[in-house]
């Protein structure tokens, strides 16, 4: 039975992901959704900026000027952000952390362009967290001996009594889930809040929602990007351990 909405304008609230068209992928029903389109737009923005930056850096001068200044400043800031928590391990992770930082940041603030932020889709944030998880464990197996990992996994109890192993294993699996859910829920809450404001208030929501956009899209998005990268770096640094 159809349930009537309490507010007449409640029909106009729209923050869901919509399927655009459907195709069959080896018998599976696969949908191209609005998230894909938003990711494509975000990618085009990033690629366009990257091409412009590449052109600017090809004719780089000793004393930077104009656009070259901006690009150098960005690279310096990103590298400085990685240097903080990672110390001497940092140079190997400039690329990874810088890439996910730029992608998540542009995704989060794409709400300002009228897009539905791609990071408000769990299918986007979970693969990002899985990537970080893979990097963490690749570095753990690369830099620590198997025996060290085993001792670490049985940590509060001696290594011949692996009762605590299961609890530590759940703790390891919780890392990507909490990383991705934190980002997803923050951006989704902002999206839902703005959709409610625009959907329920109608013409009354004209100019002042800009302040909400500044908080939910810019501030919250930037903070969550920073948190995601910081936590990734901390976990990776822990996985590398006291190797050097």
């Amino acid at each position: 039975m159809q349930i009537r909405p309490v507010l007449s304008a409640a029909d106009e609230i729209d923050f869901m992901i919509h399927g655009l068209f459907q195709y069959n992928f080896f018998g599976h029903e696969v949908w191209i959704t609005t998230s894909h389109v938003c990711i494509l737009i975000v990618m085009l923005i990033i690629i366009g900026f990257a091409i412009a930056a590449n052109r600017a850096m090809k004719k780089a001068t000793e004393v930077p000027s104009g656009f070259q200044n901006v690009v150098e400043l960005m690279v310096e800031k990103l590298d400085g952000m990685v240097d903080g928590p990672m110390g001497s391990n940092a140079p190997k992770f400039y690329n990874y952390i810088g890439t996910i930082f730029i992608f998540i940041l542009v995704s989060n603030i794409s709400g300002l362009l009228g897009l539905r932020p791609p990071t408000a889709d769990y299918g986007v944030t979970f693969p990002l967290a899985i990537l970080t998880f893979a990097v963490i464990h690749y570095n753990q197996f690369k830099h620590q001996k198997l025996k060290e990992i085993w001792v670490g996994m049985c940590s509060p109890l001696p290594p011949w009594l692996p009762i605590w192993f299961v609890i530590n294993l759940i703790g390891e699996i919780a890392v990507p889930i909490s990383l991705s859910l934190r980002l997803f829920a923050n951006i989704l809450s902002g999206t839902v809040m703005l959709a409610l404001v625009y959907g329920l208030l109608g013409w009354f929501a004209t100019i002042w929602p800009a302040a909400l956009h500044v908080y939910f899209d810019l501030f919250s998005g930037a903070i969550q990007t920073y948190v995601f990268c910081m936590l990734s770096m901390t976990y990776i640094n822990n996985a590398i351990g006291s190797d050097n």
Binding site: M16, R182, N186, V192
Partner: protein
């Protein structure tokens, strides 16, 4: 026993309201963090920028538990897993 859709939706709304009570915890936690950060800035004004960064990072991590409650509420209200 069979329930009609309105009953299930109403119960889901009550459940969503209860789930959002999870916001109390992060509120208290973030308040404590901000208070201690203010005290730290008072003691050492030179370290203001790094204190602010640390505070915001800690607060954003502490917010997660509240957001889990929000997620449950949204699942109950918009995905309606119980009414199917």
């Amino acid at each position: 026993m069979e329930f009609n859709t309105e009953f299930i939706l109403g119960c889901s709304a009550i459940g969503a309201g209860l789930a959002v009570i999870a916001g109390i915890g992060p509120g208290i936690g973030q308040g404590i963090a901000a208070g201690h950060a203010a005290a730290a800035v008072g003691r050492n004004p030179g370290a203001k920028s790094s204190i602010t960064t640390t505070m915001l990072l800690g607060q954003a991590v502490a917010e997660t538990t509240g957001l889990y409650g929000l997620l449950i509420a949204m699942l109950l209200l918009f995905v309606k897993p119980l009414g199917k």
